[in-house]
Amino acid sequence: MPISSLFPFPSSLKKMFRELHRMTSRRIYLVAAVVLPLFLLLFMCTIFGSGQMRHLPIGVVDADNTSTSRSIIRNIAAVPTFTIVHHYADDAEARAAVQRKEIYGYLSIPHHFEADMLGAGATISYYYHYALLAVGGEVMSAFEQALIPVQLAPIVVEAVSLGDREQGIEHFLLPMTADDHALYNPSLDYSVYLSLPIYYIMFQILILLVTLYAVGSEAKAGTGGEWLSAARGNIFVAIVSKLLPYTLIFIAEALLANYVFFHWLRIPFTGGVALFTLCSVLFILATQSVAVILYTLLPALSVVISVVSMVGSLGATLSGLTFPLSAMSPVVRYAALLFPVRHFTEAMQCVVYFGGGLMACRSSLLVLCLFPLVAMALLPRLRMIMVSRRYDTFE
């Protein structure tokens, strides 16, 4: 046995030139492995604008037309979340405007509001658009905040006129107050919340597809045998030399993305840079391994690519980013364990948000390391697929 086969890497460097030649021979590799990730980075950096939900269009219905109602409206107009775009004559008109999505909510002050407020008690209503849940939630909490003084003001005014201290009556009305802190994202900025994780979720789909295409196109073009013989029949050398150039490109892109997100976009980052780089690298390796595993299980390129094109976008749901996984059914929760992006999201949240160290996110990182091992265990089958050429023309 030649000694060089025990140390496959130096020879695999030479084999890499074969892959580099393949990569540069077709535009699709350049587009899918370089242009799209950069486009994606640009997209995630810019899509949320300032990231703050500001100046959302809302309407008001003022059926009272008194100094009280006008002062309430002035207060609402000063809330940064809102821009009052229209004063409607009645509720029906405002409701129709919501229907046309011209406004995301409206405040309705009824007739006789001021008189009722001084007498038996009045009601002020606001409506928010909850078919668009994210915007509706913002509108609701802004209305809640802005209307608290309206609720208390009449009592405070009257109590002070009777001779009480203003502080005293306010304390009486609200004996305890919660001091809410939004951890990791104090300004509740959408770009802080979504840009980084969604970038990696979409990046994951690209990594899966590019890896599948790089491996599968060998079989499809009937060059599987040539590929193997270039690696002297060693499937491990063959796969490493094939995928390493992509791995390096992906790692470079991940590092660039991390730099852009944390340095330019100033996403709060409390953890260690080296640790998060390690997370990104392990994530890329694990995702590439999943592509290899899927290909060995379903070795027809056209079929496996169509499967992965759909499975990939499940990552958004299964990462637990939008809707918490713990609220989903146990089947979904366990299925999520099979997706590297789930473990990456856990590790990412631990490092980026909680400032966790290696020990805090060890389990996620260890699981990410398992994916390449499984892929390696399946390599003999990949070799068989390439040699037998049974699936080359399967469609």
Partner: protein
């Protein structure tokens, strides 16, 4: 049996297209998997709809009846469950680091004293923002408990009021604020997300279908027979484009029955749209998507490569549609893209129709956009196919 050659060219193309669809594993897989499995799976995953029983840690340094009551009431809210009573902040933070809890309530040692001493009793509540739904649930629950306990304690504090005549003033509520969620009375996340996902499934699977079909058409020179036909090349190109679009429309007409007709009924997601509105919306949507796909087929030279470029856009489309993040706040250049991709206005229109009871008149802007897209992409598709035919003749 009907002889295909007797039919007009357009219908012959449609029949041939449908036959190709039925005989390719990869295409059938995309359609079955993408439309049926995906449609069911998404509904199943988001069926819980609301976040319940978010685990929090409580650090109670007050150890009084009041603090115990607070924790008990918070635990009793549907959104929160007290998973841990930590002895100090350090322990609670550790639990948060390992993602065991999503929030920390800290009740300081002088919590009740301050309340009875007529000083504001402020206590911090920390909520994690790694999932916005968690944060929203925790914030709402905490606010509700705070208000409930404030109401309860106010009566106990009555004897401490400095002026006896204040009692009458302080106990009444002059202004009641009522907030109403429009169009989503269950306040469910699935109710908000699923309609958009259904429309994006239509777009994505159709683009994949067209990419796979036209990719293999190009790879196997399947256009050559048409290029040799007698007649004007423009006329043949129109027949080709119309025939293909007809085939896709037939397929997606059936799929839409399942996606927008059947699924909303099975899973109880909003289905307020009338049949006529849905038909009027889906016709320009399906046509615009088909023609866009056929236009892009200019660059689809093999059946697998385009999948790499199409698959990863699905998540981005949700952002571009303006459903998850308001259209008014995304930068103008992405708003332009919103008007170029049929999926974006269609998602918005479908949400309006199915969740918001919008009539056809309310959908006018989106229907106009979709119709213009359909016309523009039809012209570009015909142009692309004319080019393709000319190229094939030269081969």
């Amino acid at each position: 049996m009907i002889r295909l050659s007797r039919l007009p060219l357009c219908l012959r193309v449609a029949c041939r297209e449908l036959r190709t669809v039925a005989t390719s594993y990869a295409v059938v897989l995309v359609l079955l998997g993408g439309v049926f499995v995906y449609g069911l799976l998404y509904n199943y995953m988001y069926a819980p709809n609301v976040v319940r029983e978010v685990p929090i840690a409580v650090v109670d340094h007050s150890h009084t009846a009041l603090s115990r009551q607070y924790v008990r009431w918070l635990d009793a809210t549907p959104q929160v469950t007290v998973a841990l009573r930590a002895s100090d902040m350090l322990e609670a933070k550790q639990q948060m680091l390992s993602a065991q809890v999503a929030g920390i309530l800290y009740l300081p040692s002088d919590f009740e004293q301050r309340l009875l001493r007529d000083e504001p009793a402020v206590y911090p509540f920390y909520a994690s923002t790694d999932a916005f739904l968690y944060y929203e649930a925790l914030e709402t629950a905490n606010l509700q408990v705070m208000e409930a306990i404030d109401d309860e304690y106010r009566t106990q504090l009555m004897p401490y009021l400095t002026l006896p005549e204040l009692t009458a003033v302080a106990t009444r509520t002059p202004v009641t604020v009522v907030g109403t969620a429009l169009y989503n009375p269950l306040e469910g996340y699935g109710i908000y997300l699923i309609p958009s996902v259904l429309m994006i499934i239509i777009f994505q699977t159709m683009m994949l279908l067209i990419a796979m079909l036209t990719g293999s058409e190009c790879q196997r020179y399947l256009l050559r027979p048409y290029a040799r036909l007698q007649g004007r090349r423009g006329g043949i190109a129109i027949s080709l484009v119309c025939g293909k679009a007809l085939a896709y429309s037939v397929l997606y007409g059936l799929f839409s029955l399942f996606l927008v007709g059947g699924l909303p009924l099975i899973f109880d997601i909003p289905h307020a749209a009338s049949l006529s509105t849905l038909v009027v919306l889906l016709i320009p949507y399906i046509l615009a998507t088909a023609f866009l796909g056929l236009t892009l087929s200019r660059w689809f030279t093999d059946p697998e490569a385009p999948v790499l470029l199409i698959a990863f856009f699905s998540i981005g489309l949700i952002f571009l549609s303006g459903v998850s993040y308001p259209l008014e706040l995304i930068p103008w250049y992405w708003r332009v893209v919103h008007y170029l991709i049929p999926a974006a206005p269609a998602v918005l229109a479908f949400v309006k129709a199915s969740s918001m009871h919008a009539t056809m008149a309310d959908l006018a802007p989106e229907l106009l956009t979709l119709s213009l897209q359909a016309v523009a992409y039809f012209l570009s598709a015909v142009w692309v196919y004319r080019k393709k035919l000319a190229m094939r003749l030269g081969v």
